[in-house]
Symmetry: C2
Subunit: 509 residues, 2 copies
């Protein structure tokens, strides 16, 4: 099957390889990049050198002001969008005469907090290595930097990948198109968030407040990594997430398992039993009606899944797994809800002969369209009651414990709703085509990512198609120490974003 | 049913109340005790003042020498029985002209290690309180001590209950019988162990080495507490115990539950599933053939169980439980094997979105006759293999993880075999009768205790009936801080042991 697709791809001479306009854009943009490599990297490094942890608002303000100037230099009108508290969004817009579509480009300029002692270099003093640290990469001094720069070189700094380099890539794409006098095909807007890594606490307020200003025909999220095979990808959705802490109860003091074993109820067993009533070892969720709200996989999504690279065996091998749950490949499995048991705690190492007083587990739910957190919560609670558990939200008192056979305390987390943009929308098709033409090779089309982002907030307030268009390497150590950007991903990103800006408006009819 | 038994007991004027010999012994022994209360307590206090943690061999030797002198004063031949290492057993024997039965009296003179800062008084400087500490007991100075001493007074010291006071009780019983010129009905031997609280590491070696010397017709274990209702009891057996630590495996590094949830195997779920395949929430063990070796409850045992006080409701009330596992009262439930899950560990509090790499639980098995540890282990391992788990004893390497679907590491503990003496033996019947006559009231007859003691070692080497004849209060804080002996238990214990020594040989035919 995969071989067949490969042969079809090889012999059918697909559109992305042949479009003369796309080839012309690519050639011009590449020439621009090759002639300006050192300057492009210096621009990125200057941006990375400004510390950007959202908790430090002085740093955040320096980033915001700096970014506003970068946008203004490209002829954009800018504005800092603020809620009552938190980091400003740096907003910019650039109108294109004759264009009737508006593309919003989302990136974020804040980064994860750092633990500098774990880093091999200062997270706010970017350095360049000739390859990845794990492969023995050696530092190249900035003064020795000269073109051509090997695409396997990497910049090490906080936010090198997540998420400042896409900003540099898009701005460079604009510069390259401008230098080659290639007009944009769309109006563009920038939405540069300043507290994404802090959980976007003011995002909804800002979207509501600036709803009119933020109108666009599509939002492109320039965040996250390309596929593990290093191929570029577009991602059309995310799973939702919520969680609940379960605590079940045994006797109100630990009991000797000799004196009371086979008589005193065991909370570990009660909790294990409850968990196994909710899912089986093959990940099938056993809660009644749980799959009712799962949106069927469309024909286009099915085709995209079938065409996506099969990394199952490689991943299992790497993870020391002889199997994976259920039937179907990872890409298909994440189209379904997941019930993960995150942890289970009862008794300590020293609990030699005791029957425990309580047992706790945290369940993590990943949701897919058209599930909702409210409905999941309802179904789970109905299920738990059907297992004859009495649900409480506070630690039960003695009277409750004496009168209710099985008691569970539930503590629900907030969460993110799932979201998926249809791959059959004109913009979805146009975007995919434009990127493949820009890069001159097929990309991976993922109906959804397995993880969760608050796309539902944008959707709820703006009702605009949302598509993720990432560019950075998958092995970038985002959120951890020694975060890195592989330069070839930056070079490819510039060409990808340039292709989108130059041609999306033409192809999207 | 219980009311019926009560009425039967009330109107049938049972043997224990009427036997004139027994009444005569009781009267004489009580008079002796009442005339010597202060001296008896001083004797006990002197013994308690010698520190007795088995790890301190100098202290242990002081105890052993002191005890040998106490036995010699009662006309006994004594000997210190020693293995190659560890504490000596203080052995003594006293032959009774005309007696054809020999009773071995087991006690231990070592005590649990102490944590003095948790104690209200020095564990090795015994003090007397007019009642229990929890009830506001006030210290009575030794110089103010005078007869009669209230039976609710308590002595606070390490080993006040566990297990030095039975030594004083038996020696006082001998003194009282001697003073009243009441002859013993049996030959007696003493076996005073010096490292019971350290796990009796040299017990088997000593029993083997002195097998001939240690011959007796019955061993009476003067250790442990009376029934929770404060009624005296005899206990005819113990459950065995063993345990196994189970570790099951997921991916070899923690995975993001968004990216891999619904695909990567979850070790918590695999372990919960394995546990629930082994027992249900009602404590029924589901392992094939597991109950095959369980010795049926005899008619006499059934009668004893039915007659024993029903403490289920009181215990559930105290423990905050609306139910208990399975059908039947606690006394009956401990006649069966138990599978207790002692602990369950996977992931920490911070395990926000992870699929864990492993999950661990420790199972504790309580065995009953005629189960054996070897057979339990075999049945458990067969069961686990039938659940399609691959069993390992060391942490599996990557190759094993990549090729075996479900892997469990088993780490078995050593343990104690179960043991039960038949209640239908002549000695069992005679002993029960003699004690009831000595105390003038019915006692609780327990076919087994729920907990575990190494009685099987005595049984294996000596093949002698073994019966537990405790005397101390159940609320004695043994093994913990503020260990106490309620004096009424000492008074009753003296009368009970005196009755056994004076009359067991006559009744046991």
């Amino acid at each position: 099957m995969n071989l067949l697709i490969f042969l079809l791809l090889l012999f059918c001479h697909p559109a992305y390889a042949s479009d003369p306009d796309a080839r012309a854009v690519r050639t011009k943009v590449r020439e621009y990049r090759q002639q300006n490599e050192v300057q492009i990297i210096r621009d990125l490094v200057d941006l990375l050198a400004i510390p950007n942890v959202a908790a430090n608002q002085e740093d955040i303000r320096r980033n915001a002001d700096y970014l506003a100037v970068l946008l203004q230099k490209r002829g954009m009108k800018t504005q800092l969008l603020k809620a009552d508290a938190g980091s400003p969004v740096v907003y910019g817009e650039l109108n294109t005469p004759g264009a009737d579509k508006t593309v919003m480009l989302y990136m974020h300029y804040d980064g994860q907090p750092v633990n500098p002692e774990n880093w091999d270099s200062d997270p706010w003093q970017p350095i360049l290595r000739d390859k990845a640290l794990e492969s023995g990469g050696v530092e190249i001094s900035w003064s020795a930097l000269k073109s051509p720069i090997d695409g396997e070189s990497r910049i090490y700094a906080r936010s090198a990948s997540d998420d400042k380099s896409p900003i540099t890539a898009v701005l460079t794409a604009l510069d390259a198109l401008n230098a080659a006098e290639i007009p944009l095909s769309v109006n563009i807007k920038f939405f540069l968030e300043g507290e994404e890594e802090a959980g976007s606490p003011n995002l909804a307020a800002i979207l509501e407040k600036y709803k009119v200003l933020l109108q666009a025909d599509v939002w492109l999220f320039c965040d996250g990594p390309v596929h593990q095979t290093r191929r570029n990808q577009v991602v059309f959705g995310v799973r939702g997430v919520t969680g609940v802490r379960l605590t079940v109860y045994g006797p109100n003091r630990p009991l000797h398992s000799g004196h009371y074993g086979n008589w005193a109820p065991n909370p570990i067993v009660l909790l294990s039993d409850l968990i196994m009533s909710m899912r089986n070892t093959d990940a099938r969720i056993l809660i009644a009606d749980y799959y009712d709200d799962v949106r069927p996989i469309s024909e286009t999504e099915r085709k995209a899944l079938d065409e996506s690279p099969d990394i199952d065996e490689q991943m299992r091998n790497e993870l020391g797994l002889a199997w994976s749950e259920g039937e179907g490949r990872l890409e298909e499995r994440i189209m379904l809800p997941a019930l993960n048991v995150r942890n289970f705690q009862s008794g300590g190492e020293a609990a030699r002969n005791a029957i425990q007083t309580e047992a706790t587990a945290v369940l993590g739910f990943r949701l897919v369209p058209d599930q909702t957190i409210a409905r999941v919560r309802e179904l789970v609670e109905v299920h738990i009651r059907n297992q004859k558990f009495h649900i409480v939200t506070e630690t039960p008192d003695l009277q409750t414990r004496k009168t209710r056979k099985k008691i569970v305390k539930l503590q629900w987390e907030k969460g993110y709703e799932p979201f998926r943009t249809s791959m059959d929308l004109p913009v979805s098709k146009a975007l995919t085509r434009v990127i493949e033409e820009a890069l001159g090779e097929p990309i991976v089309k993922m109906p959804t990512a397995g993880g969760s982002l608050p796309l539902f907030i944008f959707d709820r307030i703006l009702q605009t198609p949302l598509i993720i268009v990432p560019m950075v390497n998958h092995d970038n150590n985002q959120h951890a120490e020694n975060e890195s950007l592989r330069l070839q991903n930056l070079w490819d990103g510039i060409e990808m974003y340039a292709g989108i800006l130059a041609r999306l408006g033409q192809v999207w009819q």
